[in-house]
């Protein structure tokens, strides 16, 4: 037995040292230690198996050390081209999240307001009978499922097939709507196809990195380390363009701050400068781009009956040029707070024909009431300069979750989507029905509810049954007070599948304990189109069952068993083989399981045994049907340069609520902290949430570090500790609160406004007031 002996202590000490060495390397590129210990992590008793990390969209390859049925060690997989042996503090401690004391092991059913333990069989019987009863009494669209970018690919696929293909409702959404829907609509409107054209290898070729509202040092730490490493080796430049000063700003070569929402204007001003200075790559633009404009004054989605449909119109280069006259840097400086010389500096970096530029972004431009527009505008800059789809020239939208791309986007676990194409397209429905083996009439042709609309429908009572898997909306939904009350109303039935108790399990009628990550076989897809497979390494505790299996059990009970004829032992692999039929071909072909089992993941399109690392460029992409660039997502093969103006957000500070509230994450915690807060070292490192204040304003308000502060918006109020001059420093007029702590539900204050095209909420901007308690 692997006992607590000297060897084990020596080994754990090495792990602790390794973690510190790796952290130091990311903070001090090129640092050398007297004893290089991180390569010496070997232990005879351990069986090392590969898995992608489950704690962010970077998708690092990990090696998990298993001993006597327990995961006891983690190291970065040196064979993974994503992280090349590195991992961040969350990755290193990831296996500890499996062993929290209050892990859910038995199903619980709420009876007279109290949770009572039951068997899995009875709990699943109850879930199925409640679903049937709801459908019978209120129709198919009264039941819904809300999943996640942490669903493994087979889980999301089964959910989509069950709800759309069998039950016949498009009431399926995933929390990825809250983090990257604007990235999707950005890609779709500019290129007609989702997901980045480049890959992480771009980091090894670019000369300049512009980070648009993206605190990569904390949110994508391993990629940030790779950039710092390149700076050490090749002298690259990192520009942090953000609304507050963070660890990323401190490590960057230049930090440029802008006022919330004005990134729209600055991006246009960069385009203005590029055109004015003749930095446009004319040949590229003429051959590969077209110009369009859409509707303006498009609203913010604040009312339940809000609806929007864009109406694109062709324009020409001259009209685009005239439009940009409103965005002369000196004009934009006045409301963006960005000096005209800094706008010109960024434009010059993009415009320099001898510099390769990568733009990285994530939640800043995405969680934005003009999120789609912001994505379009960053593409505009890369398209005007022709810096796209080639090594080191990449507009690179990053994701937050380990399988936001792999499951939510590629499987299409959204109301309007199918694994390939849209529910609204007859051809796509027919194709899905054929692979699923279901009657095509089963799949409804109209999308129902996007995420905010789904929670509003639950509140109004149009949705009566909601099954929530691998996500914690009772912490994350904006304007939370309304939607929690909605979930708790009479006549709603909520099923929650999770691994720990959370504020969402609190509102459940049935809690199903889930198998977590390496307790099942699965696949994730990361930000660079890399699909990664892992095999089951551990037995789930108690009666915990993986999410896909829970869905299969309910499908069987609902009478749809014949559509899910997979073997019990190997269903995840069989589901993947069925699913890949959707994407077969040069444009999205996925690597077969034999390859994924051997390799540390594989990028799609996987064509003739090779990954396509840069799409839309005939040099690298066999799907191109012409020499040079071919944006084949659009019928005419051209990418769109969009005319998108600056428009104000839904709510801005005023005399009553004079501060902007921005929310986000910290490196130690994953999303709502339901897992990482159970890892003692991560919990101790950041035990509670806090509000970051500008140091001068804190002084003016008489607030010192760790003082109690009340934050109030039009929707809610919260008291928490002040953080002054610590990890992040907001400029005057702004405060920042991380959302990982369920004891401080900052989303009770945020506003449920969203981008009318992507329907993704804006978590970065609402108005609050601050008082010392």
């Amino acid at each position: 037995m692997f006992t607590q002996n000297l060897n084990r202590r020596v080994f754990v000490k090495k792990m602790a040292t390794s973690a510190a060495v790796v952290s130091a390397v990311s903070l001090f590129p090129g640092i050398v230690f007297a004893e290089e210990q991180q390569v010496n992590l070997t232990e005879d008793n351990l069986n090392w198996k590969k898995a992608p990390c489950r704690f962010c969209g970077v998708g690092c390859g990990l090696l998990i050390g298993i001993s006597n049925g327990k995961a006891v060690a983690v190291k970065g997989d040196p064979r993974s081209s994503v992280n090349k042996g590195l991992a961040c503090v969350k990755g290193y401690h990831s296996v500890m999240a499996l062993y929290g004391k209050d892990r859910l092991k038995k199903p619980l059913v709420k009876k007279n307001g109290v949770f009572v333990e039951t068997s899995m069989k009875e709990a699943l019987d109850l879930v199925a009978s409640k679903m049937s009863e709801t459908i019978k009494n209120h129709g198919k669209d009264a039941v819904s499922i809300y999943g996640s970018g942490q669903w493994a690919i087979p889980d999301g696929y089964i959910a989509s097939k069950l709800f759309k293909g069998c039950i016949g409702t498009n009431n399926i959404e995933a929390n990825a709507r809250l983090c990257m829907a604007s990235a999707v609509t950005g890609f779709m409107t500019s290129f007609g196809m989702d997901e980045p054209m480049g890959c992480y290898e771009d980091i090894d070729y670019a000369n300049v990195f512009v980070l648009w509202g993206n605190n990569m040092a904390e949110m994508h730490p391993v990629l940030f380390s790779r950039m710092l490493d390149q700076r050490q080796k090749r002298g690259i430049k990192i520009i942090d363009f953000a609304t507050r000063t963070t660890r990323t700003s401190n490590a960057a070569d230049k930090s440029i701050l802008f006022k919330p929402q004005t990134d729209l204007a600055v991006a246009n001003a960069i385009c203005y400068e590029i055109i004015k200075n003749n930095w446009v790559n004319k040949n590229f633009v003429e051959t590969n781009c077209k110009f369009q404009k859409g509707k303006t004054n498009i609203g913010h989605g604040l009312t339940d009956d809000f609806k929007f449909k864009d109406e694109p119109e062709q324009i020409d280069f001259d009209a685009f040029k005239v439009f940009l006259e409103d965005y002369i840097p000196e004009k934009v400086e006045k409301y963006s707070g960005v000096a005209a010389r800094d706008i010109k500096y960024m434009a010059a970096l993009y415009g320099d024909p001898n510099k390769k530029v990568v733009s990285f972004w994530c939640m800043g431009p995405n969680q934005h009431t003009r999120g789609t527009w912001m994505n379009n505008l960053i593409y505009n800059i890369h398209l005007l300069t022709g810096k796209i789809s080639s090594p080191g020239n990449s507009p690179f939208s990053l994701t937050g979750q380990p399988s936001a791309c792999g499951t939510a986007r590629e499987v299409g676990t959204f109301t309007h989507k199918l694994p390939k194409g849209l529910v609204a397209n007859e051809k796509d429905r027919a194709f899905a029905a054929k692979i699923w083996g279901v009657p095509v009439e089963n799949i409804p042709d109209k999308p129902t509810h996007h995420t905010m609309s789904m929670f509003r429908a639950l509140d109004r009572g149009e949705i009566k049954f909601m099954w929530i898997q691998v996500t914690n909306p009772m912490v994350t939904i904006p304007n939370l007070n309304r939607y929690r009350k909605g979930a708790e109303k009479e006549g709603r039935f909520i099923v929650v599948s999770d691994v720990y108790p959370t504020p969402t399990t609190d509102v459940a009628d049935v809690i199903l304990p889930s198998a977590m990550w390496i307790e099942k076989t699965g696949l994730f897809g990361n930000s660079e189109r890399r699909t990664q497979f892992w095999e089951q390494m551990l037995t789930p505790p108690g009666e915990a069952m993986d999410d896909g299996k829970q869905l299969l059990e309910v499908a069987e009970r609902l009478g749809y068993g014949k559509y899910f004829q997979y073997s019990k032992e190997n269903y995840a692999e069989e589901v993947y083989n069925e699913y890949t039929q959707f994407h077969a071909g040069k444009k999205h072909g996925m690597a077969p399981l034999e390859v994924l089992k051997k390799e540390a993941g594989m990028i799609w399109p996987f064509v003739d045994g090779k990954p396509t690392k840069w799409r839309f460029n005939s040099k690298y992409d066999p799907a191109c049907e012409k020499e040079g660039f071919h944006f084949y997502g659009n019928e005419d093969g051209k990418a769109v340069i969009w005319q998108r103006p600056y428009e104000a957000p839904a709510e801005s500070p005023d005399s009553e609520y004079p501060f902007w509230l921005n929310t986000g994450r910290v490196v130690e915690h994953w999303h709502t902290g339901s897992m990482t807060r159970r890892i003692s070292v991560l919990h101790k490192a950041v035990p509670n949430s806090y509000v970051e204040l500008n140091p001068e304003e804190a002084k003016e308000l008489g607030i010192k570090n760790r003082d109690r502060v009340r934050i109030t918006s039009r929707r809610g109020t919260i008291v928490m500790l002040a953080s002054v001059n610590e990890r992040g420093v907001p400029p005057r007029g702004q405060v920042f609160v991380p959302f990982f702590d369920e004891h401080f539900l900052i989303n009770e204050l945020t506003l449920d406004s969203y981008c009318p095209i992507s329907n993704e909420p804006d978590y970065k901007k609402c108005a609050v007031k601050i008082e010392k308690v």
């Binding site: 602790a16 040292t17 510190a20 060495v21 952290s23 050398v32 003692s680």
Partner: protein, 80 residues
């Protein structure tokens, strides 16, 4: 018997004194960077109390600018 690792940032010009002081503590091991001022401290203690005491001792050293916890394993985690 927790094990923890930290990155220690010495006050300018006080690195050697800080290293000597921490080295003198029984339950600490150091891994020194050879081209940067910072260094790694790994503590291996007998109890949570001792762990706390060691931490307090180090953070109160005047030669220390800052101590960042990187990794930590409790008794239970070590014996997994």
């Amino acid at each position: 018997m927790p094990i923890k690792s930290y990155i220690a940032y010495p006050v300018d010009g006080k690195r050697n004194e800080l290293i000597m002081k921490i080295k003198a503590l029984d339950s600490c091991e150091l891994n020194l960077a050879i081209n940067e001022e910072i260094f790694i401290v790994v503590t291996d203690t007998f109890s949570e109390d001792e762990d706390k005491m060691i931490y307090e001792t180090i953070v109160n050293m005047p030669e220390l600018k800052h101590l960042t916890l990187v990794s930590g394993f409790s008794d239970e985690e070590i014996s997994n």
